[in-house]
């Protein structure tokens, strides 16, 4: 499993692996929004938590179809399916690799973009915490969506249609945690719910995704 994780990380960070695309997209969103809505600091401070969360979510979405597609095309997926490690573990490792190359950098980059969007001072801690706790859920849900659509020729659009409604609770809790953190009231509640969501997704979704992959490999 460690070997698989290292292999996926190496493939993702290699040139053309799509690493950095999500980050660049996140950066672009944070730059374009002030250009679009105007540079008024108070307005930006109000919408910053939501924009940062939506940006992170969309950046995550960009690279989802790569989780399984390449392995599925060149037949590695068949080998992984008959490998001695369970397919559920393979899915979990691939989701973890996806998180390490998208979710984690996004989380680390987010305070910088928070400055660009004039996020108020108390919000930074909650922003990093909520993204750190919430983006694994995004990767896991995305891995499930990718597993559903991996057999399709052009699954990209369908993938986003399937995954976006599933992202709703994560987005609401995540953005709400930051917003409450900025206002200085009750952020831990939203954060705990977010963490619970991630834990639940980590426990259950690999099974659903593995079932979908088995169907697709049939």
């Amino acid at each position: 499993m460690t070997a698989l994780l290292l292999r996926d990380l190496r493939l993702a960070t290699r040139a053309g692996g799509g690493f950095g695309l999500g980050l660049a997209f996140f950066l672009l969103v944070a730059v374009l929004v002030p250009l679009g809505v105007g540079p008024e600091p108070a307005l930006l401070a109000r919408i910053a938590p939501g924009i940062l969360w939506v940006g992170a979510l969309l950046a995550c979405l960009l690279s989802l179809d790569r989780i399984f597609a390449l392995d599925f095309e060149d037949g590695s997926m068949d080998l992984l399916a008959i490998a001695p490690i369970p397919l559920e573990g393979v899915v979990a490792v691939k989701a973890l690799a996806h998180w390490l190359v998208t979710g984690l950098p996004l989380t680390l980059l987010s305070p910088v973009l928070g400055v660009l969007l004039n996020l108020p001072g108390p919000g930074y801690v909650w922003l990093v915490l909520s993204l750190g706790l919430g983006t694994p859920a995004l990767s896991l849900i995305g891995a499930f969506g990718a597993a559903l659509t991996v057999g399709l020729k052009r699954g990209g659009l369908l993938l986003s249609l399937l995954v976006l409604p599933l992202y709703v609770p994560t987005l609401i809790y995540g953005a709400e945690a930051v917003r409450r953190g900025v206002d200085g009231q009750g952020a831990p509640t939203a954060l705990l719910l977010l963490a619970g969501l991630t834990a639940g997704a980590a426990a259950l979704l690999p099974f659903a995704a593995a079932a979908a992959i088995r169907v697709n490999l049939r």
Binding site: I172, A211, A212, N216
Partner: protein
């Protein structure tokens, strides 16, 4: 197929009867509401449609589980057949709600918890139908959509409670509960019950018709395949 063929005209007739009685009774023989005026009458379409939209998804969840566990083909086809019907019900509920909300709340749309979760339900229906349409092999499609339906149900419930985080919202609370003191008045309640019965029967009728069509299409395909082999 035989049972459903015998039942179908009765169900269709009954649902037509209920809908016309309930509709005429509700629209022409109930008084206007004290505050809402005649707009209150949208309740006869809005409430039953919203109920069937949610119950339709629950039915899809049950049939998906039956397909995954017992591999009963009709079950998967019934789930497939229910998808577009449920989507239509959500659309009816959203549109009638907007039409009512414009004069009453002064807005077509508000990001209210109930409205938002209904919009999310619409998205789930869309994704479900799109996945059925995208996968070519029928058994694969049935498996994948079933898994999606189960996971989607969990997340739909999660979203329903997540949006409660914002505020209580504009939408009034439940007023048809059996165990509450304050409910909708009987003048409106009785025709509403008839309308709900009519919508349930309509849903069952439509799903049966669509399932029968799917079964026939499946039979036709196997006949064609056999012909090609021979």
């Amino acid at each position: 197929m035989q049972t459903s063929a015998r039942l179908l005209p009765w169900l269709a007739g009954l649902s037509a009867l209920c809908l016309t009685t309930g509709g005429i009774w509700g629209f022409f023989f109930t008084p206007d509401d004290f505050r809402q005026g005649s707009t209150v009458k949208i309740i006869y379409l809005h409430v039953p449609a919203a109920m069937m939209a949610i119950n339709g998804w629950i039915m899809m969840l049950v049939t998906s589980l039956i397909w995954l566990i017992r591999r009963h083909h009709v079950s998967a086809l019934a789930a497939k057949a229910a998808g577009p019907v449920g989507l239509t019900m959500t659309m009816i509920a959203l549109v009638t709600g907007a039409l009512w909300g414009q004069p009453m709340w002064g807005t077509w749309w508000a990001w209210d918890p109930r409205l938002t979760s209904f919009l999310i339900l619409t998205l789930f229906y869309l994704g479900y139908i799109a996945l059925w349409a995208a996968v070519e092999d029928p058994d694969t499609a049935a498996d994948l959509t079933s898994v999606l339906c189960i996971v989607g149900s969990v997340f739909a419930v999660l979203s329903r409670y997540a949006v409660n985080f914002w505020s209580q919202g504009l939408h009034q609370g439940a007023s048809l509960s059996l165990d509450k003191e304050k409910n909708v008045a009987d003048v409106f309640f009785l025709p509403l019950l008839v309308c709900i019965a009519g919508f349930v029967l309509l849903f069952v009728t439509l799903v049966l018709v669509r399932t029968r069509t799917e079964i026939r299409a499946r039979r036709l395909q196997s006949l064609l395949a056999r012909e090609r082999m021979a």
